[in-house]
Symmetry: C2
Subunit: 201 residues, 2 copies
Amino acid sequence: MSEATERAPRPRGRRSGGGAADDIVAAAAAEFAERGYAAASVRGIARRAGVDPALVRYYFDGGKAQLFAVAVGRRDVDPAALLAGVLAGGPDDVGRRLVEGVLRTWDAPGGRERFRMVMAATASGHDHLVRDFLASEVLGRLRGVLPEADADLRVALVASQLAGVLVARYVLEVEPIASVPVERLIDTVGPAVQRYLTGDL
Amino acid sequence: MSEATERAPRPRGRRSGGGAADDIVAAAAAEFAERGYAAASVRGIARRAGVDPALVRYYFDGGKAQLFAVAVGRRDVDPAALLAGVLAGGPDDVGRRLVEGVLRTWDAPGGRERFRMVMAATASGHDHLVRDFLASEVLGRLRGVLPEADADLRVALVASQLAGVLVARYVLEVEPIASVPVERLIDTVGPAVQRYLTGDL
């Protein structure tokens, strides 16, 4: 455990850290499976791993959300940072950027297998876990930038379209969605997502 | 087996038929699970059930597609008939009618549970079955009414949006999609589906 290594440039929010980090990931997976996303806590995960909560935050500075992403298999994805980048560019092209951010995340090596893991968890009684994660980390953040009265419906519709594309591309492998370049999906699905976010409903 | 009963009014494509029909349904479930949708046949299902293929077609005149719908749990749904009704009204409002047809089918009593069964089958290695069924019975029929070069992508995008809404409504239960009236989803999702079918991509 080399805790004294470089603190400055950490583009992906997670330090390399051998055994302790792996113990924390295993503890997180157990905590989420047993307690669900809402009830799980960094403190509880630290307790399971037999480490101080500060050490958990040292390795995973994206907190609970990053730990869930990690437990599902993506050690380098911080959903808050991803969404902040998507939202930073303003409202006009946010639909395209959101589709792009989501697809580039899951198109990365191993992404297909990880998405299928999420699907299997969803279909086998852990749907509450995925729902709670979605609600607090993705939908809640998106909703925060929408002033309209229909904000809840808008973000839910966005989630439905993105979930559908991910299922079509990685699970059902519906052609040509399964093999088309990301750019084509950005061009076709982006405007639909944009309408859900800022258009007339 | 009262084969001499009324032949005229059969609004839902399936005759009532006691034990033999139930044997056929059980045989269909086994045939689909073992051979997949593409390789399964009415003849093979009849052989498993120990009946003549003509008897299978007598009870299930929607053929293989209806038998899959039946095996998944909807004994009264014939996807070909449903889609024919949706397409009969012409291209202008087909997006709304398609959303309505799909949602009314799965909103029927027991639909949520049946959709979760399909999801569980998809996530547990039977995705090819669902994919083949979708391709030949739903996407293929939709594609047939689209003249454009992008027809394959269009119907795949429609399938992705509809699948996403069904997952959000019945599996992830994302609010307000989970509890909003069907009419609200027709109004909001219908135009997105319409754009995928006939709009600029």
